[in-house]
Amino acid sequence: MMALHQEHTVAEPAGGLMPSGPDYHDQVVSRRRKGRAWATVFQAAVLVGIIALCALLLNILNQSFGYVAIVNNIDPAELTVDDVPLNRLPKEKLVEILEANISAGLMRRYEHDRPFAERSRENVHALILERVVEPKVQATWGLFDSIFARGSVFAEAEERFPGSDVNFRSWLTTSFISNSQSSEPLRAGVRTAILGSLWVVAITILFSFPIGVGAAIYLEEYARKERLLNRLIQTNINNLAGVPSIIYGMLGLAIFVRILEGFTSGAFLGIGDQSTANGRTIISAGMTLGLLILPLIIINGQEAIRAVPSSLRQAGFGLGATHWQVIWHHVLPSAMPGVLTGTILAVSRAIGETAPLVVVGASTFIALDPSGPFSKFTVLPIQIYQWTSRPQDEFRNLAAAAILVLLILLLSLNASAVLLRNRFDRSQAGA
């Protein structure tokens, strides 16, 4: 291009010092045009990213709400007594209805589990829905179909499932959050999975936060960079951050679940069901995820500690504080917001992690709440994976609702990290 310029200036000396002429003008125009075209391409790339994010979120919203065609075994309208609808009947009447419709053996079993005198009206009502009405989902439609193609949804339901109830259903409800897992999609919930996730994350934090911060302090405050061992540790941490998460799962399976089974199954404390006890417990999962996010916590912690001005340390040493006193009273407090932000981000990674926990062996069907670090468990992402793998549409809807719960959880965690960072930035600026 530069050669072209010169040719022109030589060929047309009348043009003065600046290159000019029709050829030159054309060239400038075409360069400009090319620049504009590519600028559009770059913007389009950004747009693709945003569209992908929107498509992902809209797809989940679409699947979380929408019309459902339900066929009942017995129409609740037939169960009215003296024209009072089912959901307004007193408990005694409900028990009578239940008794009239289910076998005596089943009735005795319920009585044995918990006497009907002690059961609440809601509980009996739920039993009637479960055993007598027996609603079955026949088909589900997405939110957009339900809004924009309402007529065809009803027509299709009438044609394929005559006699079905077509209702608008939000799969994400309070009972979805408070119910435990069930093979019946209308009654399934994520309480067990949420509690499992919280337990696992609690263990992960307890395990990885002290060790991660400790390692960050060692590397930034104590380690002499010229020593081979310390360089090895640093390189190693950077490499660990790039290891696929499933490899950590295999590490957890071999070490925590298998070799340390006596510890992770709780057998050494004599707790848990000894006959079925194995190492596939909350503590194994927590420690596996702990190892997984350790490099992230260390790297973020190092950055936060490095950002503490060294004048602070010099002042501490100048007043005669020991090395640890300077770290504990001065370096750590001012590095803490940064350390915490990094930790929250690492923890939100741990909450969404699925693959290592599948390998470590989160049990897939657990209806009992986890009772402690040595109990079997399932977690939200695994529950989502499980429901997604089912071929039926209604389980996809459940998975979408569970994804919403997970995303809301992660969003609130990330928002707190951002708030913390902003607050930290402001107080630093004020200092």
């Binding site: 400009r32 620049g35 600028a39 391409v41 770059f42 790339a45 990213g49 992908a52 994010l53 498509a55 992902l56 797809n59 002290p210 400790g214 390692a215 060692y218 405050e221 104590y222 380690a223 002499r224 960079k225 540790i233 190693n236 941490i237 950077n238 490499n239 790039g242 290891v243 696929p244 998460s245 499933i246 950590y248 295999m250 590490l251 490099p295 260390i298 340390r313 010099q314 040493f317 100048g318 005669g320 504080a321 640890w324 006193q325 300077v326 009273h329 969404g352 699925t354 693959a355 599948v358 390998v359 992402p381 994976y385 997604t388 793998s389 996809r396 979408a400 997970l406 995303l407 992660l410």
Partner: protein, 336 residues
């Protein structure tokens, strides 16, 4: 920190020589203690040494993790290859993976992995690089401040959600475009595209860091010679940041190879030696998840085989990561 430690020692000595500081901080005094005739030699501080030892152990745990990974994967792989049904030649030469009938050829899993990763790279590398160039060279500050968090959100979404996205939106979309006969319900193309979307933020943020690290003087010199914005970005800034961009690409490939949940959900279950991205095929990671998700008895050949696959995966990603670090070190352009 290596500089501050002797400095601290000097500070302590200087202060003790002058005796205790009047009205000094309480904590400072406990550290110093002593009256005018105190011993000025360095005293052994047991607590300080213990703390330092503990912190060193914390750092050492990361090394132990690596050793643990190598030991576990190596040991179980050795057990796997010690089995009379298996040998290295069959493992790397066979095109059929059927543990039930003793066929252990790794190729179907490897080809599926590479196909999904290649589709992912076709999506992620151009888009990621374009986003990086836009953010670094074109976008005004305010746009950048809006776009960066959006990309961070994209990077923060759990992979199982992407898997759901691949199965419930991308696959129907592909089947709608290319026809239901051509595209199977589970296929590597849809998984690959979604992995691509997943690694876009990684590519764009790492490349953008590299582009922004190029000093402004280069851009100004280029503008001064009459170059357009595009010419400056593509012919001046990009070559100067090439090592960082290449490193980003390689890390993205490594991430795509190790990606698990998307392929486990959307790419299909069951090894399949095929080169068509529209057919179901199981990747290495997908296979590990499916086998270990079932009832797995220790010391069975299934159990050992997933560790052999894991070892291959580990070595593959590790060498890619090492390569990217080497590229950065070797080809970095220093402008000081």
């Amino acid at each position: 920190m290596s500089r501050s430690a002797p400095l601290a020692q000097a500070a302590v000595s200087a202060e003790t020589m002058r005796g205790p500081v009047a009205g000094g901080d309480r904590k400072g005094e406990t550290a110093l203690g002593g009256g005018p005739q105190m011993d000025l030699r360095r005293k052994p501080r047991v607590a300080e040494t213990l703390i330092q030892g503990f912190l060193f152990l914390c750092g050492a745990i990361s090394v132990l993790t690596t050793l643990g990974i190598v030991y576990v994967l190596g040991r179980e792989s050795l057990l796997f290859f010690a089995n009379e049904e298996v040998n290295l030649l069959k493992f790397f030469g066979g095109t059929e993976w059927q543990p039930a009938i003793g066929r252990f050829g790794i190729w179907p899993l490897v080809t599926a992995t590479f196909m999904a990763s290649m589709v992912a790279m076709v999506v992620a590398l151009p888009i990621g690089l374009c986003i990086a160039i836009y953010l670094s060279e074109y976008a005004p500050r305010r746009t950048r401040n809006i776009l960066k968090p959006i990309l961070e959100v994209l990077a923060g979404i759990p992979t199982v959600v992407y898997g759901y996205f691949a199965l419930t939106l991308m696959t129907p979309l592909l089947r709608g475009i290319f026809g239901r006969d051509l595209v199977e319900i589970y296929n590597t193309a849809s998984a690959g595209i979604v992995i691509g979307i997943l690694v876009i933020p990684l590519v764009s943020s790492m490349s953008e860091d590299a582009l922004r690290a190029v000093p402004n003087t280069l851009r100004q010199a280029s503008y001064g010679l009459g170059a357009t914005r595009l010419e400056t970005a593509v012919r001046i800034v990009l070559p100067a940041a090439l090592s960082g961009v290449a490193a980003a690409f390689i890390v993205a490939i490594s991430r795509a190879i190790g990606e698990t949940m998307i392929v486990a959900i959307a790419a299909g279950a069951g090894p399949n030696f095929t080169f068509s991205p529209f057919r179901a095929a199981e990747t290495m990671t997908g296979h590990i998840v499916r086998i270990s998700g079932g009832d797995l008895s220790y010391d069975s050949i299934d159990y050992n085989s997933i560790f052999a696959i894991g070892l291959l995966l580990f070595l593959l990603t590790l060498s890619l990561n090492a390569l990217s670090q080497w590229i950065v070190r070797r080809f970095r352009e220093e402008y000081e």
